[in-house]
Symmetry: C2
Subunit: 256 residues, 2 copies
DNA sequence: AAGTGGTCTAGACCACGTT
DNA sequence: ACGTGGTCTAGACCACTTT
């Protein structure tokens, strides 16, 4: 019963089947969370082998539209809740609270932090350039993973020059209230601005594992350079589950 | 010759093969553009069937690491050149040049614009909210596609309230030098700021087609609201090939 | 002509979830 | 026990690229 499927078409049969399922998803007929027809149903409905039926589903997996649940079926992916990063997230910092904390309290969601590494280590290529250091110079490295409602959503690695961290607990496990920026201000440093570069890409294997990403889940990659007293004092490299974030920015209409 | 592959492992054979290839790619041993072993080679090297060999390659396709070329082989994906969007891209606007033009001239690359649609049409849900309109109210819609060095890299759709466009060529095919913002300034409107929201996701079918995206290529989705004279005067919805862009922002350290 | 990937089939066994 | 997806095999024919 190859309903509307043309085996002689240039378009492969599995793609034609995928196209039909995709249309039903994008039209909302198959809503997020809805179960798709089973492999057996597709086999008999279109008169194809199991391999061909599965290939149709796999196209939709690669497109990020569906996921299989072993022993249960194929389902339209649900959109997870989103965390908004405000344009004023640093300007509003203060009262002893770190930027991430302010964000999460604003969005009223439970959160947690895994500290993956804190210590002195050689600085990699990219942050070295941004900090004006030589590759391999020693810096304080702080690597952590943020979770919202129990789900990992963000990996962040900060690089801080040793002279900036000197005389503070920035290189220790617990940097104290308000985070490392507060410690820098304690030393009398004055923050001028933050520069951020945003890209998006597919995760590497480690990122996919640590963030427990589903197949075909892109990440937002944000590299922030904090500038105080006329020099870069920290680079923070952040990899976020793209489905969990909206970044918000305000741009001035005129140079001030 | 199942070199280092354990058929009894929990990890499927095709995943183990994919893991090994991925490691060689991420280590740089297989550089961008390099050819991977052929399916036949993988079959004999690991003693697996062709289906299993192909499945290993397909894992890497889904991860965005490799692409097949029919009749030639499997290759590590190349990174395309990148376009940087500066934090000052609106502040530096002027001299009769549109923002995109300024960007492209800065990066010294050839570019072109396809105008896909210009006219009056009902405003969709999201821009309606941002513009303070009712869904379905008429607005000027300008939809275009940008190309760099012949490759499509960006789709942009602008929504402009009718009263803003009134008395200007904003609703016409060619809005004149400097683009629509210049025409608004001609009317005496003063721009205050631009707000941008950035997300990343997989493209839908239309976006993938218009941007000629390879499999497993995420897009950056940027929605900009231009604010002038204390009100939103334009919403620009932009979908970019994520591999072709770096967005750059500057955030103030203090509310000014 | 030879080598490469693209598509498709039929059949098998295993693992997970639900009934 | 049954239905669902997960993995794997062997074999076939086609289309594209290179020699």
């Amino acid at each position: 019963m190859a309903q509307g499927i043309d085996p002689a078409s240039d378009r492969a049969v599995y793609r034609q089947i995928a196209d039909r399922l995709r249309r039903r998803i994008e039209a909302g007929e198959l809503a997020p969370g809805a179960q798709l027809p089973s492999e057996s149903q597709v086999m008999s409905e279109y008169g194809v082998s199991r391999v061909t039926a599965r290939r149709a589903f796999n196209v939709l997996v690669t497109d990020g539209l569906v996921l299989a649940e072993h022993g249960r079926g194929w389902f339209v992916r649900r959109k997870p809740p989103v965390k908004r990063l405000g344009a004023d997230r640093f300007a509003r910092r203060g009262e002893g609270k770190a930027a991430f904390t302010v964000d999460m309290e604003t969005s009223n969601r439970s959160f947690a932090v895994d500290v993956l590494f804190v210590g002195v280590a050689p600085v990699p290529n990219d942050p070295a350039i941004r900090l004006g250091l030589e590759v391999g110079d020693k810096v304080v490295v702080r690597r952590r993973r943020y979770l919202a409602e129990g789900q990992p959503i963000e990996l962040a690695t900060s690089y801080i020059p040793l002279d900036v961290a000197e005389g503070t607990p920035i290189g220790e496990f617990n940097p104290g209230p308000g985070g490392i920026y507060a410690r820098m201000e304690d030393k009398g440093m004055v923050f001028e601005r933050y520069e951020e570069e945003v890209t998006a890409r597919m995760p590497n294997e480690e990122e996919a594992r640590l963030l427990q990403l589903a197949p075909a889940s892109p990440v937002l990659h944000l590299v922030r350079t904090a500038i105080a007293d006329g020099r870069p004092v920290e680079v923070c490299d952040t990899v976020m589950d793209a489905s969990a974030f909206v970044l918000h920015y305000a741009l001035p209409a005129h140079l001030s």
